[in-house]
């Protein structure tokens, strides 16, 4: 009986097409805000923080409402959160272990513009020799 009750519940998301339209418009608007911010004059640090927060908000909305996780059994949430947290931990651990200052790779030099391929290649060979 409990199983039947759950089956009823899982197929009974309270959201309908109208709500889904509102959610989609909201997600599209957040995407537009992200796009506008990426063209703004904000410095890299605050910009990255704001973009990550907005992206996380979109992520949560899609998982909770489009994937119905909010209305489903808690075991699904636990399974997914386990993978998500472990994946996030791997991401942070790898970055903490291997992150380098990009300028280190070139010994503090700037890469030449794209049209100067030969110059770029020479810089690459010089750097190889240094290594």
């Amino acid at each position: 009986m409990a199983t039947d009750a759950h089956a009823e519940q899982s197929h009974g998301s309270p959201l309908g097409p109208r709500e889904y339209i509102y959610i989609t418009i909201g997600l599209a608007l957040v995407t537009l805000v992200e796009l506008a911010l990426s063209y703004s004059d904000l410095s890299a640090g605050p910009l990255a923080a704001i973009l990550i927060v907005l992206s996380a908000a979109k992520f949560i909305v899609v998982v909770a409402l489009f994937m119905h996780l909010k209305f489903e059994s808690r075991i699904f949430t636990q399974m997914f959160m386990f993978g998500l947290l472990l994946g996030s931990a791997i991401l942070l651990a790898l970055i903490a272990l291997f992150w380098n200052d990009p300028s280190d790779a070139l010994g503090g030099k700037e890469l030449p513009p794209l049209e100067h391929h030969d110059e770029a290649h020479q810089l690459f060979l010089d750097t190889e020799r240094l290594v």
Binding site: A2, T3, H6, A7, S10, S13, G16, P17, Y20, L27, T31, E34, L35, L37, S38, A44, L47, A48, L51, I52, L54, S55, K58, F59, V62, V63, F66, M67, S73, I75, F76, M79, F80, F82, G83, L84, L86, G87, S88, I90, L91, L92, L94, I95, F98, W99, N100, D101, P102, A105, L106, L111, P112, P113, L114, H117, A120, H121, F124, T127
Partner: protein
């Protein structure tokens, strides 16, 4: 009870949830580890390139924004397909599934165009660290979209049979919907981390 469930072809685990749904959620959890590793690899490698092109040389943000919008719309049509399947509206389900498939194909078209443009500008898998990590990350995501399109197509063709998807049709569509929305949320992260954050 067990015999009755078997007779009706039920797929419920002792936890009281549908086995197939549980399996898909576990699969998606494992995919989080996969994409987490790829995204961190991209972040580590993108600033390590010793030759151009670099991201600022090749990225076309308006174009990628358009493909992001298409994928977002396909998530909307997917959720309508699930709604149609669960509320006995087969025509709505089929139309929404078809729209989702088209959205996925358009997204793949954008990606092929982007890859071709990058290759023309000198960025390939072996050009530099940025190229290697970028193509692997977005390529694997594109592969997931391709698999999703095939999965959606199989469900759509299944629904066109005389018996349709059977009495579990709603669950079948909901499971493919989970996969499709996951592909969408992975792109939400990739779009922000790869394209928008400087």
């Amino acid at each position: 009870m067990a015999a009755a469930e078997a007779a009706h072809g039920e797929h419920h685990a002792s936890a009281g949830v549908d086995n197939r749904m549980l399996l898909m959620w576990i699969f998606l959890a494992s995919e989080c580890l996969f994409f987490g590793s790829l995204i961190s690899t991209y972040l580590i490698f993108k600033g390590e390139s010793l030759v151009r092109p670099l991201p600022e040389d090749v990225f076309d943000i308006p174009l990628t924004s358009a493909s992001t919008f298409v994928l977002l719309m396909s998530s909307f049509t997917m959720v309508l397909a699930v709604y149609g399947a669960q509320h006995a509206r087969p025509q709505m389900m089929k139309a929404a599934l078809l729209a989702t498939i088209i959205g996925g194909l358009v997204f793949l078209g954008f990606q092929v165009f982007e890859f071709k443009t990058f290759a023309d500008e000198g960025l390939t898998l072996s050009t530099n660290q940025f190229g290697a990590s970028f193509f692997v990350l977005t390529g694997f995501h594109g592969t997931h979209v391709g698999v999703g399109v095939l999965y959606l197509s199989s469900i759509l063709f299944g629904s066109m049979r005389r018996n349709g998807l059977g009495k579990d049709g709603g669950t079948h569509v909901e499971i493919v919907g989970l996969y499709w929305h996951f592909v969408d949320i992975v792109w939400i992260v990739i779009f922000t981390v790869v394209y928008l954050i400087p």
